[in-house]
Symmetry: C2
Subunit: 394 residues, 2 copies
């Protein structure tokens, strides 16, 4: 049998991260590779309890089909939460639950992208967003980005001269992969540019709740009076990723289209997962739980930054994120991080080379460090070991 | 804001079923509309127990990210089950877990279909498969179908003269919406035709385990020596739909492509759902559970057929399915089932008009009856009421 696959299968490639993650399943490997939350913080006992209650009180409904939009009390909670924390103005009708925020990315591509359309993104940007959008045949234009976000003049220049821009994709809080956070001014200018050119902004915010210091900023959506900003969120980093519950929030005209494509994509999210999360939010204080996560990650971030400062050789620079899960390392231009990874894997230390975070390639002298998943002592051992490898290259 | 949606949003429409289902949420409505399993048969107590054990024994893993392919013990179980029941020859590497078999349909579209490609399907066919495939811009050619499946001469004629046929989509066991089952001979001829024309067959089999009488037939896949048949399966009808765990099984070269597109679509299935189902299968006898479901549905099917025979006016014909969830009703050509539905909803009886099961329209004088979801007394009351409405039209 000669399979005739769709054209898109020629340019879709296996995620480098997922391949590296297979290596990191060996317990001896110290992994800075994945974006995995710290599993020891999962509220296992509380989840046992909410599962029992949900099955007791609403067992048959919790196991049956449900609506595509998702469980109403959970959508109401999300709207309230976003309105309080991100200063948005949303109701449950503005929310569709998705199978993790990765599905929200995929549905965004399906709702907005035709072959040949253009997505503007930060440079670098989240690698799994690249694969989600790429499946719809789009091109990526990378907008030059500094510590405060996309550079507005560059963004505006690109918008002026580029046809068929359909989406501006951004992660303004503790970005993946760089850990950077957009300034308030840049958020506002982004929305103004988007409105001027009538382009949708996808504001992806999986890490915003994990701020270790400094003041929380209003979302990009806060500056949007017309409905051009669509927000993505998730319980993966504040609760548990295994449940695969995320959401897309925005103007109802757009959300209705998302509901339509979700119907065809998988009908609905896992029913019991939706109800268990809602029950957890009703019975427990998620803020206390998030505070715990934040504190652990803050210590790990501190240690990561300090160890990199102490141990990494001169010529290596890195970000000092105020929250989230990731820091970003830049090596002297002649060093290829994929070669560094090879050597470092020999010593059982893993990370993700930066090249694949650039949709059009380049910057092979960069890599991403995840600091959320390893206990403190292993962070130090791993980074010291990585520093030795780096010294061999420099 | 003027949204510029993708072209596909012009031809994707809300599922008629999902709209009708909203009406049927009112408890006074007797619904033959959805494809909902009987919730009173869900093994709620057993699920409580497996949830407790999974969280006790493997809590942190069960709540963490996992592989795209899915939980290995569950994929192994599925391969064994299919090999025994459907006479296939599959290993765990041939299986990808999906978010319900609806996602397997969507991923099939993504893996195989370019805009303008052709999908051959039974006439009528499963309406949510139409929406899943349509999102990839394909055209549908309906193959004339009788009580034994697609008519081989018609299928071969269409394959001869049609370009860009990428998929032949079939539901050989207790088809949705007709309840019909393909004969052995037709299964074999389908595969031969597919091989001759090097076209992939998607064999969708959500209801195969729910046979009330007669001998189980080997799958279409059984006749496939080259890997052209890709099978879809699900736990939604034999266990619980709320978990959203289905699968796609087939030649590894194809499954690898499905894994790739699933990565971009949603990374992975719900981790704890996968492990709970695997644990249930380890601790309990699913065959006994399925036997219970089968017995209840068989009685409901009997009652449905008998009541239709006794009550429906002359000129109305219907199928007598040997299993599954659905029967199919054909009215005299001048009667429009959508108009019948309007009248019948006034009396709180719902069903799905047949028109939307024909991707290219037509046959508005048909409708689908689901007999799995309503208790016996309500089946009788509902069908008698529907018979009265039908008499008004004839």
């Amino acid at each position: 049998m000669e399979f005739k696959f769709a054209e898109r299968m020629e340019y879709l490639k296996a995620s480098e991260i997922r391949e590296i993650l297979k290596v990191t399943e060996r317990p001896e490997v110290i992994s800075f590779a994945g974006g995995l939350p710290a599993p020891e913080l999962f509220p296992v006992e509380e989840i046992k309890e909410v599962n029992r209650i949900v099955l007791e009180e609403e067992g048959t409904q919790a196991l049956q089909y449900t609506t595509t939009e998702g469980y109403l009390p959970l959508r109401e909670w999300i709207a309230r939460r976003m309105n309080t924390r991100l200063r948005t103005n949303l109701a449950s009708d503005n929310i569709l639950l998705t199978h993790g925020s990765q599905q929200a990315l995929d549905l965004s591509g399906k709702v907005f992208l035709d072959k040949g359309d253009v997505v503007l993104c930060e440079s670098p940007t989240y690698l799994a967003a690249i694969s989600a959008f790429r499946a719809y045949g789009c091109k990526f234009f990378e907008v030059p980005t500094d510590d405060e976000g996309m550079i507005p003049e560059e963004l505006e220049r690109i918008l002026e001269k580029t046809e068929k821009v359909k989406i501006i994709y951004v992660i303004p809080d503790f970005q993946n992969p760089t850990g950077r956070t957009w300034s308030l001014e840049r958020r506002e200018r982004l929305v103004k540019a988007a409105i001027k050119h009538q382009v949708v902004v996808i504001e992806d915010n999986p890490y915003g709740e994990l701020r270790f210091e400094g003041e929380a900023l209003p979302s990009v959506k806060y500056f949007d009076p017309v409905g051009c900003v669509i927000c993505l969120g998730t319980f993966s980093k504040t609760f548990c990723p295994g449940y695969r519950i995320g959401w897309v929030a925005g103007d109802q005209r757009a959300i209705q289209k998302y509901v339509l494509v979700k119907q065809g994509a998988d009908l609905q999210c896992n029913t019991i997962a939706q109800r268990e999360i809602a029950k957890y939010l009703e019975l427990y204080q998620i803020d206390e739980h998030i505070a715990k996560i934040r504190e652990v990650y803050r210590r790990r971030r501190d240690l990561t930054v300090k160890t990199m400062e102490d141990e990494f050789p001169e010529g290596v620079t890195f970000t000092r994120p105020q929250g989230g899960l990731f820091a970003w390392v830049e090596l002297p231009a002649h060093i290829n991080a994929r070669e560094v990874l090879e050597k470092s894997l020999e010593r059982n230390v893993a990370f993700v080379p930066g090249g694949s975070f650039f949709p059009n390639g380049g910057k092979e002298n960069t890599f991403r460090i995840n600091f959320s998943n390893m206990p403190e002592e292993r962070i130090v051992i791993g980074l010291k070991c990585l520093a030795e490898v780096l010294r061999e290259f420099i």
